[in-house]
Symmetry: C2
Amino acid sequence: MGAGAMGEIKHLVTVKFKEGVVVEDIVKGMEKLVSEFDLVKSFEWGQDSEGPEMLTQGFTHSFSMTFDKKEDYAEFQSHPNHVEYSATFSAAIEKIVVLCFPSVCVKPSA
Amino acid sequence: MGAGAMGEIKHLVTVKFKEGVVVEDIVKGMEKLVSEFDLVKSFEWGQDSEGPEMLTQGFTHSFSMTFDKKEDYAEFQSHPNHVEYSATFSAAIEKIVVLCFPSVCVKPSA
C-alpha cells in the first residue's frame, strides 16, 4: 500500500464540555453555522459515551469539518459568523484539542 | 437542518509520539494492518505541524477509521494482528486520546 492520496483539509475538534452545558444547543448552533458556508465541504460529529477514561482522557465529543484547501479554512475561521459562534463554543468547553491538517486518505469510504 | 443521518462507527485516535519515533514506520504498520481487514471501511490520517500549542495541546497526529457497526470494531480490536500492532503503537506514544462513536453526518462529503 502506498503513501495514500493527499486529500482535503481536515479541521478536527475534540472537547470535553463543562457540566450543565446543553450540548444539543451547541451542536445546533454549529449545524446552523456550517449550513451557511459552502466552503465547509463536510461536517460530522459524535459522542463517545462508553470509552474508558484511560482512553478518552475525559474527552466526550468530536467535531470534524473538511475544506477543499487551506485558504477556505482560513476564510471560514475569520468570518464574523464563525468568530461569534466561537465565543459561545469556547464558553461551553472545559478542555479542547484542535488539529488541522491535510488528510491522507489511505482507504477511501466506499 | 435536522439531526443528521446516523452513520458508521468512527474510531478516532489522537496522539503525540515520543521523541525519536519514526512516525513513517508506525503509519506504514497501520496501513498494512488496515489493508488486512475488510472490516475497516475507511482509514485516513494526518499530521498537524502548524497549529499553536494552545490549540493542539501538543498532539500532532490523528488517525481515523470507520466501521459499519460496533461488532466489526470489536472484532478488529480483539484480533491478534491488532493486538500485536497495538503493543508497538503504545510503545511509541507519549499521550493519546481515543474516541469511538456512531458518527452523525450533518453534511456529507460530495
